[in-house]
């Protein structure tokens, strides 16, 4: 079918703002027909240097000043200048309105690809997925970062760059452990935040009364003291930064505020780490679907599609484990393949699919995909939807690496006996506990020497890397007293300990 000449939006690679507007309009119309629900879009056209800037501040349009962002920036800039790395075509921010960056050097087809991918794919994922809904406040993040930047700048003015940097370094080291996983954080608002922070300080001031110091101490005999002594916290705490912010005996109010800022930032990024495969798969699936239907309607020409498909193919390439370019499973490839596969199962199921996915066979694929997008994260998504057909296509195989064995063992491959095992193991690979060690605060000696005891719940004898000691030093700097970490293994009890006293104590 040759597209009609007059309906084609543009030919060739050149773009201008009017064209962007028209493409966006058409893509938006098609997206709506497919039922994609999105935040309003804010598309920003930037130059490549600005893209490098955006990289460094972890994709947020604004962030506080810290040397590590400088390092990140230099790293990207060097790699880019030497041609070791191209720039990502797009960058999208989970905010309301959803901000997406387009690079000025891209051709029109690429811009359209990015609009479809970011502004309708990622955007609808941000708006719909339960983790994002629950854990991030898209409407407030930009304001909050403005507040954070200003606050940290003021702290630097008042307390010196060195002290602020020290605090931030320590917080960054613990960032992965500043996340609430089981209860919803209060929504962000820069204004409330300022207000709350004032109130907190005010409250502390008001509560202080020197007269309490002069009260005679109640005499307790030893037995009494023992009875009163309870373990605090009553339950282990996994949000280390939260615990520090609330209970550190030595932090000054402004330092607590900085801990809070880093904690909020960690919380904001938390869902992104858990939905990499889904998020990218969803966005890739939709740019593919949206642009193809543009082609079907004759809005774009063959040249446009060739360029899109070439780039698309590069993105979803999955090199095998023995390929020099292999660096783990490509989330774009796996996600895209799974999304497409779900559509296939809905539309053209075979007997195997009927046996494996009886509940979605023959249903409206849009509803099924929408349901999956809203209610799953990578771990559960793979556990639920990875089909035997895909396992075969990807030639997935599971390997057991045991410390005591002198060989790796192939646990399962893409055969009848192996499907479930491969799927289970792959799904587990996306469990956060595998990536971020499970470390919890078990005891704060608030009646004693104020030391803090952490516990690393070691899984199958997997050790921590050597920089754990460094992190503990940072922690003890925030805490102000001795910090101990017990290495705990199920069935064996505490097997090892690392103890760090604060510097200068």
């Amino acid at each position: 079918m040759r597209p009609l000449k007059d309906s084609v939006l543009s030919r060739g690679g050149d773009w201008d703002f009017e064209l962007l507007q028209r493409y966006d309009k058409e893509i938006g119309i098609i997206a709506k027909e497919f039922g994609l629900d999105t935040y309003p879009n804010q598309i920003e056209v930037i130059a490549s240097e600005q893209m490098l800037d955006a990289y460094a501040s972890v994709g947020l349009p604004i962030s506080y000043a810290h040397w590590s962002y400088g390092k990140e920036f230099i790293q990207n800039e060097e790699a880019y200048r030497r041609g070791q790395r191209g720039l990502a075509y797009e960058l999208v921010i989970n905010s309301d309105p959803c901000i997406a960056y387009l690079m000025e050097d891209n051709s029109m087809p690429m811009q359209a690809l990015v609009i479809a991918h970011a502004c309708y794919g990622h955007n609808s994922f941000f708006k719909g997925n339960y983790l994002f809904k629950q854990w991030t406040s898209a409407d407030a993040i930009v304001d909050y970062m403005v507040f954070a930047r200003k606050y940290i700048f003021e702290c630097e003015q008042r307390y010196g760059e060195a002290r602020v940097e020290e605090t931030l370094d320590a917080c960054h080291a613990l960032m992965d452990h500043g996340v609430d996983r089981f209860h919803r954080p209060s929504p962000l608002s820069a204004e409330d935040e300022l207000q709350r922070q004032h109130e907190r300080e005010e409250h502390a001031w008001k509560q202080y009364d020197d007269i309490w110091r002069t009260l005679p101490q109640k005499r307790d005999d030893g037995a009494n003291v023992k009875k009163k002594k309870r373990v605090f916290p009553p339950e282990p705490q996994e949000n280390l930064l939260y615990f520090i912010e609330k209970y550190s005996p030595t932090l000054e109010p402004w330092q607590r505020e900085i801990v809070r800022i880093v904690r909020k930032l960690a919380q904001y990024f938390y869902p992104q780490g858990l939905t990499k495969v889904m998020n990218e798969g969803w966005a890739t699936f939709w740019h593919y679907t949206l642009l193809n239907s543009m082609y079907d309607r004759g809005l774009v020409d063959d040249g446009f599609m060739f360029e899109i498909l070439q780039s698309h193919t590069n993105v979803v390439m999955q090199p095998g484990f023995d390929h020099p370019a292999y660096s783990g499973i490509n989330p774009y490839a796996l996600g895209f393949a799974m999304m497409r596969d779900i559509r296939r199962i809905c539309e053209e199921p075979d007997d195997e699919d009927r046996a494996w996915f009886p509940d979605i066979v023959g249903k409206d694929w849009r509803e099924v995909l929408d349901f999956a997008m809203r209610n799953y994260k990578d771990e559960s998504f793979i556990g639920q939807y990875l089909s035997p057909k895909l396992i075969r296509e990807f030639h997935l195989f599971a390997i057991a690496d045991e410390q005591k064995a002198d060989h790796l063992r192939v646990e399962a491959i893409h055969n009848e006996e192996g499907y479930r095992e491969v799927r289970r193991l792959l799904s587990k690979q996306y469990n956060r506990d595998v990536l971020v060690p499970d470390i919890q605060i078990v005891c704060y000696e608030h009646m004693g020497d104020r030391s803090l005891v952490l516990r690393y719940n070691r899984l199958r004898e997997r050790p921590l890397t050597d920089d754990a000691g460094e992190v503990l030093k940072h922690l003890s700097r925030l805490w102000g007293f001795t910090v101990t970490m017990e290495i705990f293994e199920e069935g064996k009890g505490v097997v090892d300990k690392i103890e760090v006293a604060p510097a200068g104590a």
Partner: protein, 408 residues
């Protein structure tokens, strides 16, 4: 409807300050790297930027991470020949994806020991001459300064339109209007209360109306005064021995020293004059180009250079108006009574006029004591310092040592 915004004209260098912070944080490591580079460079491109490296482990940010070891399973794509139960030899580094998915970046870093990046010329020079200073530089002369600063000095009733202060002028106008109207308004009120004639009221109202909104004497202009800026004037005398005993390699070291000194001075001080004197058995004042690039050989009379320096001093640089500095580089060879006489001349006639005089020697071997060094080492004066350079790597540290910022 989406909003499309052109941000290309926005700030491009959002991360400049973060970059500076990074460089500041790793200054010590970077400076080591810079010193190595300088030792390798040819004299002519001393002042370019350059690629520096920092050990990756120094700049990594620690995190709790699960390391290698223990038991785990990994799923990989691309199986061609394996079947369940196969055994595969463990790769030496335990590799195969490390922590499972997303290990890409971590692996890349391991392969590289150094975090390499390029410093701009500016950054390079900053690191290079960071906390070097001319010792005891004093601001001694006010006159003849070409620099002025403008300071704000209130408002004046006259000036050019560009300097018109609108708020001030309108404030004045308002004050004038209120002041002129007040008595008339009062009169008007009285007239109205006493039921004065309509004509009088109309006349009075007209008068009130006629008060102009803005009058010429309301105008105020921002006033600025020009103030001379005190500057410190300094002159650096560069004395280099180019006699036959200075081998090419020694001359290279000497020129290196002066190149760095020259870069340092011309970068840090706009108002430092440089006088280049080279000497064999007689001394001559030359320009920068000849000093660094023209070959010359002959005998050695150190005294000639010192004499020329004094001549020039008397002629052009009065010590009451100038901060005077000297730097001399020689291999230390001198004959007969020349070293003793030179040392005398230096300590008696030159040092009292100088803020600082540095002598750098490039001897044949580190242990030998040259005649000139022996003579100069007798000089006991706070304004005199000497040091020895043996190879390229020493030049920069010696410069630092001699011009280290005094920490009072």
């Amino acid at each position: 409807m989406s909003m499309i915004i052109d941000r290309r004209l926005n700030d491009r260098n959002k991360n400049a300050s973060n970059r500076q912070r990074f460089i500041r944080r790793y200054k010590a490591q970077l400076r080591r790297s810079v010193a190595d580079i300088v030792a390798d460079r040819s004299i002519t491109d001393m002042s370019r930027g350059g690629e520096v490296g920092i050990p990756v482990k120094d700049i990594s940010e620690p995190k709790f991470r699960v390391g290698r070891g223990g038991d785990r399973e990994m799923v990989h794509p691309g199986n061609k020949e394996f079947t369940t139960g196969d055994r595969i030899a463990k790769p030496p580094s335990g590799g195969g994806g490390g922590g499972g998915s997303g290990g890409g970046e971590g692996q890349g870093e391991e392969g590289q020991d150094n975090f390499m990046f390029t410093l701009s010329k500016e950054e390079f020079m900053n690191l290079f001459f960071d906390d070097l200073e001319l010792p005891r530089l004093a601001r001694n002369v006010l006159g003849d300064s070409k620099q002025f600063t403008y300071r704000r000095a209130g408002y004046t009733p006259s000036g050019v339109p560009a300097n018109l202060s609108v708020p001030r002028s309108l404030q004045n106008a308002m004050a004038r209007r209120i002041a002129l109207r007040a008595p008339l308004n009062r009169e008007l009120a009285e007239l109205k209360a006493d039921a004065g004639s309509a004509e009088d009221i109309a006349a009075l109202e007209k008068r009130i109306e006629r008060i102009p909104f803005l009058d010429e004497y309301d105008l105020r202009f921002r006033h600025r005064v020009k103030e001379p800026k005190p500057i410190s004037r300094a002159v650096m005398f560069c004395l280099m021995d180019v006699s036959a005993s200075m081998s090419e390699q020694k001359k290279d070291l000497a020129k290196r020293f002066f190149t760095l000194l020259y870069l340092f001075l011309s970068r840090k001080y706009e108002h430092v004059e440089l006088v280049f004197i080279r000497h064999t058995s007689n001394a001559e004042e030359v320009d920068e180009h000849a000093f660094f690039h023209d070959p010359q050989t002959g005998g050695t009379v150190v005294m000639s250079a010192l004499n020329l320096m004094i001549e020039i001093l008397e002629d052009r640089y009065s010590p009451s108006q100038w901060n005077i500095y000297g730097a001399q580089v020689s291999d230390g060879d001198a004959f007969g009574s020349d070293p003793q006489r030179s040392a005398m001349r230096l300590s008696k006639d030159i040092l009292p006029l100088c803020r600082y005089f540095a002598y750098v020697e490039i001897p044949d071997s580190p242990s030998s004591i040259t005649p000139l060094a022996a003579a100069y080492s007798q000089i006991r004066d706070a304004t005199f310092a000497m040091s020895t350079v043996m190879d390229r790597g020493d030049v920069y540290p010696v410069l630092r040592e001699l011009f280290q910022r005094e920490t009072a």
